[in-house]
Amino acid sequence: MKRRIFLSFPALLAAQSTPSEDPLLKVMQGEMERAKSLSVVGGQPVYYMECSVDEVHSFSAQASLGGLINSRSNYFRLPGVGLRIGNMDFDNTNYLLSDLFQGTRYDQSQLPLENNLSALRHNFWLALDRAYKTAIEAIGRKKAALRNVTQSETLPDFSAAPPAKLLEPVAAWNLNEEIWKNLAKEWSLVFRNHPDIYDSTVDVEISRDTLFYANTYGAEVRMTEDLFYVRARANSQAPDGMVVRDSITVMSMGANQAPARETVRAEIAKVAANIDALRKAPAADSYNGPVLFEGLAAAQLFAEMIGGQAATVRQPVVEPGRPSPVSASDFEGRRGSRVLPTEFTVVDDPTQKTYRGRPLMGYYPVDQEGVKPEPVVLVEKGNWAGYLATRQPTRETKASNGHARLKGNFGANQAYISNLFVKAEGGVEPAALRQRFLEMLQQRNKPYGLLLRKLDFPSTGGLTELRQMFAGAGSRPVPFPLLAYKIYPDGREELVRGLRFRNMSSRALRDIIATGNDETQFDFIGNGAPLALVGAGNYIVGVSVVAPSVIFDDLELDRPQTELPKLPAVPPPPFSSI
């Protein structure tokens, strides 16, 4: 399931729209029209409904060392419905159990692939009935929960936004799967020249999601999003037992825009080279002092520390005494406060398709709620300036700016970054930045400084590793350095491994003391999870981050004292001669 886009619309009047020519949209509109009378039979006014179908074609292949591990192709239609009773000020959403349905589900989770109208209608009939029953229960419980608490502030549950109409043509899905299977195998052969790498995989994922969306305010959307990516992962152990791993994701908006096979191969080869280098690298010592983040590492850091917290989250109504399941963003309530040096401006802009000639992964014409996106200035001259928003009002946002990109909880969607531009005035050439860094080391009498080239983001860490990270951190996890180098005053570099940030938080961003004038574009697959953890979340979206290299004045890094696994008792099997 790839990107999903829902469209929703204004608030005021339920305009009677002319039925669409698209059979799927027509069915949805027809059943929503019929469901308006639910208010009469159920006694609770329905003020908003939406129906959607994600028609998904997907293909995936995984290979290792030239062997195909599996390949799958799928074609299915996922229906969705949303229904609100009450009014925008107070409805069935934004409550801990808003999505809880305790009855029997009769509507199917997958729709017929043919436009069989009676089957489609039947399903939306039952789905809306289920949504209505869920809504009645939720609003009742929500009112009961609120009876015994005093809300410090009351926010509306929904906000108005203009309805969108966008009917893109649906192209035929033609994919030569054999080509991609063979490429996955071919790319995975890169690791055969690296016998010390224990395990390696190359995944190829290609998908197309055509969203059909209609709501009771006349929104009508049919739009297609294509996504292509190759992800390579590998791991091994250093002689002392420390697990070393690396990964790379190469992506594009669809298989027809996929990078050349040699380009992909070269990126995968870097993963293999990195693992080999990390195995041989010495374990790092603890470090205190200035840290230079080169382009990619800086973009990864901003993606997590700014991008991961650029939206404020609505606290759902909970029964008195229950803890809220949602933790606030670091930047909530900090509008106008200094979060970065004054040279910095950060903008999230989903309306841009390319940057300096290169496609951006975060472009979309309408968001999941059918709202046309707008650029949002998150940081202006170092001060926090705005937040990403959906149609769900929060303490910081009253109206949508078209950033509902992921499915959220409690009847709402989740706002997420798209194309994040981090810009700093007065940046210098990368060579000059490096020179400046070396000078700082000398001034401070440091035997060496720390240069970071790549962080573990999106993280491919396993569960155990993640648990350690969350347990130790106390707050939000910070991606750890994957490629960290000691850099000596004479410019010599030495790769080290095993470093983790200590006490790193968004506050550290104010301690950036120098920036480059370089701009690195980093594309990744976001899913709303911390560290964009690979495999977390059911929904994924493309994101691009453009950022300069930066120097932090003073950071702490250390090597956690954990027990390291032993090396395998049996050496790896040799490869057959080829």
């Binding site: 059979p23 062997g67 199917q108 692939l113 009939w125 052969l189 008792a569 099997p573």
Partner: protein, 552 residues
Amino acid sequence: MSFSSLLSAQKAAPAPSVVQVLADELERNRKALAEADPKPYFISYQLFDLESQSVNASMGGITNSNANRNRILDVSVRVGSPALDNYRQIRGDRPRFAAAASVPIDGDLDTLRRRVWLETDRVYRAAAQRLINIKSNQQVKLDGDDKSADFSPAPPTQKSVSVPPLQFDRKKFEERARAWSAYFSGKPNVLASGVTVVAQREFKTIVNSEGTRLEFGRTYARILISAQGKAADGMNLFASETFEAESPSSLPDDKTVQAAVEKVYTKLTALLKAPLAEPANVPAILSGKAAGVFFHEIFGHRIEGHRQKDETEGQTFTKMVGQKILPDFLSVKMDPTLHKLAGTELYGWFDFDDEGVPARPVSVVKQGVLENFLMSRSPIQGFLESNGHGRKQPGAEVVSRQSNLVVESSRQYTPKQLREQLVEEIKKQQKPYGLYFEEVSSGFTITSRRGLQAFSVFPVMVYKVYADGRPDELVRGADIVGTPLTSFSKIAATSSEVTVFNGYCGAESGQVPVSASSPALLVTEIEIALRDRSLERPPFLGPPAGISGGVE
């Protein structure tokens, strides 16, 4: 797009077989680990080559049509000694070392070797760690009653049985499923419905350090038809028909399935109108299929060998070997070598179990007397060897499981005579009615000591039978409940006609295909209880109308 030169070169080389690669890698690992502490005394690799084809349809449209192929590797390493090894169950803690690791499907042997090595390493580490835990646990806990060893000897087996490729005509089944499912279109009382056609092929390779080298497997095919509705009082009702066969080609013809689709609808419609059952304790007849499920639940699970030495288990029959546990006209066998019975292909057959032990029929109860348990290579007191019933699904650990359960009777009556006896019994007991359980969907049983030693069987089609000649009356919402020993003592007679229930059984070692065959049973007393019922309203609005199933 062409293969890389590397790949094509590799393809050209004469390749050893999968079984050979597994054997070589096993030997390489065994040798190297022989120097380690603790050293393994047994290693085995099981590779599942699984192919599945499925078509789902609902109301005249295909909702999903998929093909899948994967290969899964499970590794077993035993350290310690057969008397005490890393597989011993510590109270409440079942060992699990297998992890269903994916290995290449295109026969790339280098990739296979590497994954085998990685899995062996992982399992060896876990095995060594668990053995230490077990040994410390031994020092602080009392022994259970059964002081058997953890692993029994079994002679190595070498055999290669070929399995025909899966022949699945996707187009044909898509068309048929679409047509069959269309029957439920425009039937307002059917809220959800579907037709699924599934075909599978499994090919297993087992090699172990004792010299076992096996390749074997089988194919399966199944058609499932289901429909759901909601009675006016909120009760959710369900009707289904299934067909199981050894391969897609032996599935029933179009007409037979179409008739079954219509039967599902007829059953659901009748159930929706049927009155509620009330709790009762009355004489009854269980149809052959219902009796099969009844035996599978209350009896079959309790003769699984590993439960006899698990101190958390109820151990109903553990100390009853040689004693009478069933009426003397009944015998029960478990026969994984049987492919067909009473004209029906059986789901629970196999050539070898998942420990590579050859399948064989096991006489469990002879003329009412308990003779045997179902055994894997985990021995129990008095039963020191496997009888080929160690089974599992990929990623689980073997325990003893059922295969084809067959109930045989020497007190047989024609169905008509059996019914007459039921009527007699109703009169004798002065009950207002008796029950006829025509069809059951499934059941479950609790064998754990902490729970009640009870079972439930979920009937779908149950009729009240009156002694005064009134026609039978369908009722809904009744579950059969009972306790095993009492229930067995109430079996009075059987019919002469055997019917088969095919299905999947879920337990500690996952889902395995099984069957249960039995003649219909007359029981002098059976207890039914009210089923948990939904109180949710039927849909507020009536079904959509005005569109006649057209496809645009």
